[in-house]
C-alpha cells in the first residue's frame, strides 16, 4: 500500500475539482491516470504530492496519514509536462539538487548522479546549462532528478506531451523500465488512451473529477465498468447506440437486429445502450456476428493505410476505422458491418452488463 486516498474531495472556490474519491494505487507499479484536460489528473497528482491539501478526506502514504505533511517532507518526486529545470544550475547540479538538500556526502552524490545520467543517456550533457539542451534532453534531466532521489512515489504529469513524436516514442519505451528497476510507485497522468495501453500497468480512468474505474490497464480497456469509462478509454471516441431487446433479438432503429448471445439471454426486455470501438465497425464483415448497417458519409480522414469514416446513421453519428484507403465523399451511401460480438452492453444506468 504505497499511496491511498480516503474519501478525498478538493473544492476551490465554488468549483469542485475532485469529487469524493477513494483509491488505493498498486505499490511498485506503473499507475496511469487517464482522462481529458480538466478531468482532475493534475489535481490528484498535486494532492498525492502534498502541493495541495484536500478539502476533505485523508491521504495515506506507506501506512501513515500524511494529509497535512508539507511537500518537502513527503519524499516524493514529480515531473511536469513543461520541462522544468533550475535554469541557473548545470545539468549535473540540477540532478544533484535533491541530494544536496539532504546533505549527502559529495562522493555519494557524484556516484548517484552519474548512475542516473548514464541510465537516461545524458552523461555528455552534465556540464551544460538546461537552456543549451533540446526539449528531450531537458525532460531527461527532469526525469533524472526525479529518479536520483530514489523516492517511493514518483508523480509524472504528462511528461511526454510536449515532446515531438520520435522523442516521445523513444522515452515512452524507456520509462517503464527505468522505474520498474527502482521499485517506485509511479503515477503517470496522460490524456492519450494509446499511451496508457503502451505503458501497461494499472489505469484509473477519470472524468470530471471522478475516478470512474481502476484496474489493470488491459482489463479496464476490455471490460469498461460503465459507458463513461469506455468513453474516456477510447481514441477515436467510442460509438454508442440505443437498442431495444425484444425476446431473442436486439433491435437497432428497427433497421437492424441481431440474435441475443448466450450471455444476455436472461436480460429482461427493454432499452439498452451499446458501445463499440471504431475498429469494430468496418467495411468488411468480420464473422457471422457482423450485421450490416447503412448510413451516409459525413467526412473521411485517410491516414496512411487506414481510413476513418464518420457517418450518420439515423440520429447517430458513428466513426469507423477500416484498413485500406477508401476515399468516400460527403453524402455517399455506405454499408458498414457492426461486429456485435465486440459490443459493450450497458443497462439504463450506463453500467456494464
Amino acid at each position: 500500500m504505497a499511496i491511498e486516498l480516503k474519501e478525498v474531495t478538493k473544492v476551490v472556490g465554488i468549483d469542485t475539482h475532485i469529487h469524493e474519491t477513494s483509491i488505493k494505487l498498486e505499490e511498485g507499479r506503473f499507475n496511469i491516470l487517464l482522462g481529458t484536460t480538466l478531468s482532475g489528473k493534475t489535481t490528484l497528482l498535486r494532492l498525492m504530492a502534498g502541493l495541495e491539501r484536500p478539502t476533505k478526506g485523508e491521504i495515506w502514504f506507506k501506512g501513515a496519514n500524511v494529509t497535512g505533511v508539507p511537500v518537502q517532507k513527503r519524499k516524493v518526486a514529480m515531473v511536469y509536462q513543461q520541462f522544468i529545470n533550475y535554469p541557473n544550475f548545470t545539468v549535473y547540479d540540477n540532478i544533484a539538487s535533491p541530494l544536496k538538500v539532504i546533505r549527502l556526502p559529495k562522493k555519494e552524490i557524484e556516484a548517484r548522479v552519474h548512475k542516473v545520467a548514464e541510465l537516461l543517456k545524458i552523461t555528455p550533457m552534465l556540464k551544460r546549462m538546461p537552456s543549451e539542451l533540446s526539449g528531450g534532453q531537458q525532460q531527461r534531466t527532469a526525469l533524472a532528478r526525479a529518479l536520483v532521489k530514489e523516492s517511493d512515489l514518483v508523480l509524472l504529469d504528462e511528461p511526454l506531451a510536449d515532446l515531438d513524436y520520435k522523442l516521445r516514442e523513444e522515452l515512452r519505451e524507456e520509462l517503464p523500465k527505468l522505474f520498474h528497476d527502482s521499485g517506485a510507485t509511479v503515477v503517470y497522468a496522460t490524456t492519450e488512451p494509446a499511451e496508457a495501453l503502451l505503458l501497461g500497468g494499472y489505469t484509473a480512468t477519470l472524468h470530471e473529477g471522478r475516478v470512474t474505474q481502476y484496474g489493470p490497464t488491459p482489463s479496464v480497456y476490455r471490460i469498461p465498468q460503465d459507458l463513461l469509462s469506455a468513453r474516456v478509454f477510447s481514441d477515436p471516441p467510442i460509438n454508442t447506440a440505443s437498442i431495444t431487446k425484444r425476446g431473442e433479438k436486439f433491435h437497432y432503429n428497427e433497421t437492424a437486429s441481431w440474435n441475443v448471445s448466450e450471455r444476455y439471454k436472461a436480460l429482461p426486455d427493454g432499452p439498452y445502450t451499446i458501445g463499440f470501438r471504431p475498429h469494430h465497425i468496418t467495411l468488411e464483415p468480420d464473422n457471422d456476428e457482423s450485421i450490416s448497417v447503412k448510413g451516409t458519409v459525413v467526412v473521411t480522414e485517410i491516414s496512411g493505410s487506414e481510413s476513418v469514416i464518420h457517418m450518420s446513421v439515423g440520429h447517430d453519428t458513428w466513426v469507423s476505422l477500416s484498413h485500406g484507403i477508401h476515399p468516400f465523399k460527403r453524402g455517399d451511401a455506405v454499408e458498414l458491418y457492426l461486429q456485435t460480438d465486440h459490443c459493450f452492453y450497458f443497462d439504463a444506468n450506463e453500467r456494464f452488463i
Binding site: A49, L51, P70, V71, Q72, R74, V76, A77, M78, Y80, Q82, I84, Y86, P87, N88, F89, S97, P98, V101, I102, A142, R145, K149
Partner: protein
Amino acid sequence: MKNTKWLAPTIYILFLLLPIYWLVSMSFKTTNEILGSFSLWPQEFTLNNYITIFTDPTWYNGYFNSLTYVMMNTLLSVSVALPAAYAFSRYRFLGDKHLFFWLLTNRMAPPAVFALPFFQLYSAVGLFDTPIAVALAHCLFNIPLAVWILEGFMSGVPKELDETAYVDGYSFVHFFIKIFIPTIAAGIGVVMFFCFMFSWVELLLAKTLTSVVAKPIAATMTRTASTSGYELGLLAAAGTLTIIPGAFVIYFVRHHIAKGFALGRV
C-alpha cells in the same frame, strides 16, 4: 537609393549627440572663451574645470552624496519589491488586482507634490539633510515601479519551478535565494537600472530635503552661478561627469532591458 540609406540615421544621431558634444566641449574651455566667442571646439584646451571638481570638497562631495542616496534607494527598493512582487505574481487574494494598480498610480503625481510633506515630516523627525531622507523619499516612486516590473519577470517563470524545488526538498527561503533570484536576475538588473536612473536625475526632492551635509551634485551644479560670477566651464565639466554613471549603468544592463521590453513590462 542604396547609398543614401545611412543618411537618415546619421542625421538623427548627430542631432541627438549635438547637445552632449557641446557640453563636453564646453567643459574643456575656459569660461572666458565660452562667453567671448563662438567656437566649434576648445581653442584654449584646459583641464582646470575637472581639476577643480576633483580637488574641491564642495564639488566632489556632491557626487558622493548623490551616489550614497542613489545606492541606498536602489537597494531598499529592490529588497522591498522582491517579496511584494512575488506575492502579486504567485498568490490570489482579495483586491490583489486593485492593489497592484493602485501601486502604479503612486507614480502619477509629480514629485513636487510630495516635496512639502516630506520636508515638514523629515524636519520634524530629524532626518532632514541626510542621504537616507532622499533615499526614502525616492522609494515612494521607485518601489511601485520595481514591483510592477519584477512582477512581470516573475510571472514569466512557471510556478512549477517553485513546486519542483519544494518537491526536491527546498524550503521557501532556500529556494527563493538559491534558485528564484538567479532565475530573474535580468529583471532585477532592469529594476536596479530604473531605480538608479530615477534617483540619479531627480532634482526637486533631493534639493528640498538637503541643505549642506547631504547636498547632491545636481543641487551644487544648479547653484554655482553665484559668488564668483559665471563659471560655465565648471558647470559643463560637472554635467559631463554626471552623465557618466548613467551611461555606465545603461551599458551594463542593455541586454536585460531588451529582454524586459520583450516581456512587455518595461
